[in-house]
Amino acid sequence: MAYRVMIVDDSPSMRAFVRRVMDLSGFEVDTCLNAGNGAQGLALLQQAAVDIILTDINMPEMNGEEFLRRLEEHDRYRSIPVVVISTDATENRMQRMMQLGAKGYISKPFSPEALREELERVLGVSNA
């Protein structure tokens, strides 16, 4: 099954890298939307549906924490699983993002296999 994905990160090179790593990992992507911050992500969600969102934390205008809060407030968006991709691997940060509604968390650096495993875990994809 191919998934509709949104990548939210203020770095265009990081967005391209994440997309490439998804392809390398064998995770099938149907469409991939790109947003430079949470506000752009919310705007894109009004135009197109996605199956999963991958978001950075530190972004200008609307950071990852505020983005998660806004998604949780919205009836239509609350059910979209969000995976946080961050340089911060501390337990405090992970717990905080999960409390805000994230369903997954992967810290950089990450391998293609690690990214795929986390995406499939969050999506409830069985490898059996």
């Binding site: 890298f17 340089t87 911060d88 691997a89 950089k108 650096p109 990450f110």
Partner: protein, 149 residues
Amino acid sequence: MPDMAVAESLAAAAADVLETMFFSTVIGEAPVSATPPADAVAARLRFSGARSGVFTLRVTEGAAQVIAANFLAEETSEPTKPQVEEVVCELANMMCGSVLSRLDRGAHFDLGAPAVADAAEIAVAGAVSRAFDIGDGEVAIFLSMDEEP
């Protein structure tokens, strides 16, 4: 925190980030030069939280080009200077996060936005530093912790 523990974390984080995300291998250690090559690319970011300070990354031009090309998967053309600088900032961000997480996984840190810095003006005095040969050039990293109150 002992400088040796910090230096070991710098080395481990550099090797892990470079190999996993930038497809570059650390060949060995290199001496940290106080006077960098004029064409080196540097990025710096502040961090705060359990500890505060500044993390600085300095990459020789050749190494920066290869790292950027690897990260961007540029096979047909050389990355532009803005692309190289963006990738070096991204590398600094990842290394800093990796180092701080290794130093104290249970702590809370906030990372500032990385910005391009003047390689010639990087203050190395007082910083814990390590430099590495990655074949196409050198990567040097500097971690300065603020004095605890």
